[in-house]
């Protein structure tokens, strides 16, 4: 299988604190990969480095053969990484549909003038966007809410909408930061199915952070455990979850 993401000795410090240090990972195409670790271990920071929110102080990130180290968010998104956020970041005043359509911004294009003068191109592309967006929303059973304001959705729905929006950018790699946070077990179960579905249906590679071990052990192929910014353990899910060091640092008993 081909490697999609290769991260080498990635690091960043805040002041004196080495939040991430020498982080390595290789993710195969179509893999469901988990990133776990105690609170404050640096998981979200890894995501921020991968998506260009922070610039790494050292190390390199290669996506599908492209060195994307040091690019900014916008460029990285165009290269094919999309993400969700630990604390939900939706376009709160826009409708659910429009949130997804913003995600489609770079894949379905027409010029500002087309928009102002409502040219046939505008109509055509808008229609395509509507169709695609609805299709995506349907995957997450959100199509019924398409005309709701995003901020009026219940919490769980908001998380799903974030994933839909990320998928709209047609990424190669999808990063999910604690997708199940704030969901009850039933909802989590549903979410797991959705994530699997996304992987299969969109042939997606997914890297996710999660504290819910049921989800992690349920769907992840492989795991990396971070501790104090460093890789503590890497390997297949079962192997990692039974590692005594991991149990001691993260899982408890």
């Amino acid at each position: 299988m081909a490697t999609l993401l290769k991260v080498d000795r990635l690091g960043i410090s805040f002041g004196g604190l080495k939040a991430v240090d020498g982080f390595n990972v290789e993710i195969e195409k179509n893999e469901l990969y988990g990133l776990i670790g105690p609170n404050g271990a640096g998981k979200t920071t890894v995501f921020n480095l991968l998506t260009g929110v922070y610039k790494p102080t050292n190390g390199q990130i290669v996506l599908d053969g492209d060195n994307i180290t040091g690019l900014d968010c916008e460029a990285i998104s165009k290269k094919g990484i999309a993400r969700t956020f630990q604390n939900i970041r939706l376009f709160s005043q826009l409708s659910v549909l429009d949130n997804v359509k913003v995600g489609l911004h770079n894949t379905n294009q027409y010029s500002t003038l087309d928009g102002i003068f409502r040219t046939p191109k505008f109509r055509k592309v808008e229609r395509e966007m509507d169709e695609k967006a609805l299709e995506l929303l349907k995957v997450f059973e959100l199509d019924g809410y398409c005309d709701y304001k995003a901020s009026n959705l219940p919490y769980g729905q908001q998380r799903k909408l974030e994933i839909a929006r990320a998928l709209a950018t047609s990424p190669k790699l999808l990063l999910l930061d604690e997708p199940a946070a704030g969901m009850n077990p039933n909802e989590t179960e549903e979410l797991m199915n959705t994530i699997r579905l996304v992987r299969d249906r969109f042939d997606m590679t997914i890297l996710l952070i999660e504290h819910d071990m049921k989800l992690v052990s349920g769907i992840c192929d492989r795991l990396t455990v971070l501790n104090f910014g460093q890789v503590l353990k890497q390997g297949s899910t079962q192997e990692v979850l039974h590692d005594p060091e991991v149990i001691k640092a993260y899982l408890g008993d």
Binding site: N87, P154, G156, E178, N184, N186, H211, K214, Y250, L251
Partner: protein
């Protein structure tokens, strides 16, 4: 056992949205009571109404024998009611230490505050490590610990907790529940809202199930955790 908190027929609106539709429940002194329910059921709204962050349209909330429905939220803290809010709400540009000291805002006993601070640091050593870091730059889980620690600083008789385990690593989820039990053992009454219903029911005395603004099931925590309806809707096997 005397009643600590008695909520009767509470109605709350967000504009035209009827969020709480006449709910009633009570928490006795020394109890752990948990409120479970799906997203958007109104759990947070309930807690926020009790501690005066949201005004109620009608109904009554009696705390320690006193009607508090119209008491301004800030006065409840000095009466021993603390609230760990949803979304942590730490003071982002203040240091961890300053956050904790604000938790003790209503207290005047210097020594007592010192002692409490020590226990909080014992519960959450990470906070001691980071005591001068700006709270806004803490990781999600660290912020959750801070929110909890801050509430404890007021030395409350009763705490209401809104999803305290959200975003915590498994080790800390266990730890948080241990801490809740410890707090409880030290005589504090607890009203707990949790998505992790398994855990919540395991430490609670009694529980209520909230569905779209109404209480639909109530009872002994243990019994509820065996109730097939609850099991199906809220628990994992």
């Amino acid at each position: 056992m005397s009643t600590m908190l008695d909520v009767k027929d509470l109605n709350v609106y967000y504009g035209v949205i009827h969020a709480l539709k006449g709910i009633s429940f009570h928490v006795d002194k020394g109890e752990i009571v948990t409120l479970i329910g799906a997203n958007g059921a109104g759990k947070t709204t309930t807690l926020q109404t009790i501690t005066g962050l949201i005004p109620a349209r009608s109904g009554s909330v009696v705390y320690n024998g006193k009607e508090i429905i119209h008491t301004p939220g800030h006065q409840l803290v000095s009466n021993g009611l603390a609230h760990v809010p949803e979304g942590r709400r730490v003071f982002a540009t203040l240091s961890v230490y300053q956050n904790l000291m604000l938790g003790a805002y209503t207290r005047k006993d210097k020594d007592g505050i010192e002692a409490t601070l020590k226990t909080v640091y014992e519960h959450f050593p990470r906070l001691l490590e980071r005591k001068n870091q700006m709270a806004g730059t803490l990781s999600g889980g660290e912020q959750q610990m801070l929110a909890m620690g801050r509430a404890l600083m007021s030395n409350p008789q009763m705490v209401v907790l809104d999803e305290p385990s959200m975003g915590l690593s498994p080790i800390y989820v266990n730890e948080i529940f241990n801490i809740i039990e410890k707090i409880h053992e030290s005589g504090v009454t607890v009203l707990l809202v949790e998505q992790n219903a398994n855990k919540a029911l395991s430490i609670a005395d009694r529980a209520y199930v909230l569905e779209t603004g109404k209480i639909t099931i109530e009872g002994d925590a243990h019994e509820l955790s065996n109730d097939p309806k609850v099991k199906a809707a809220y628990l994992s096997e």
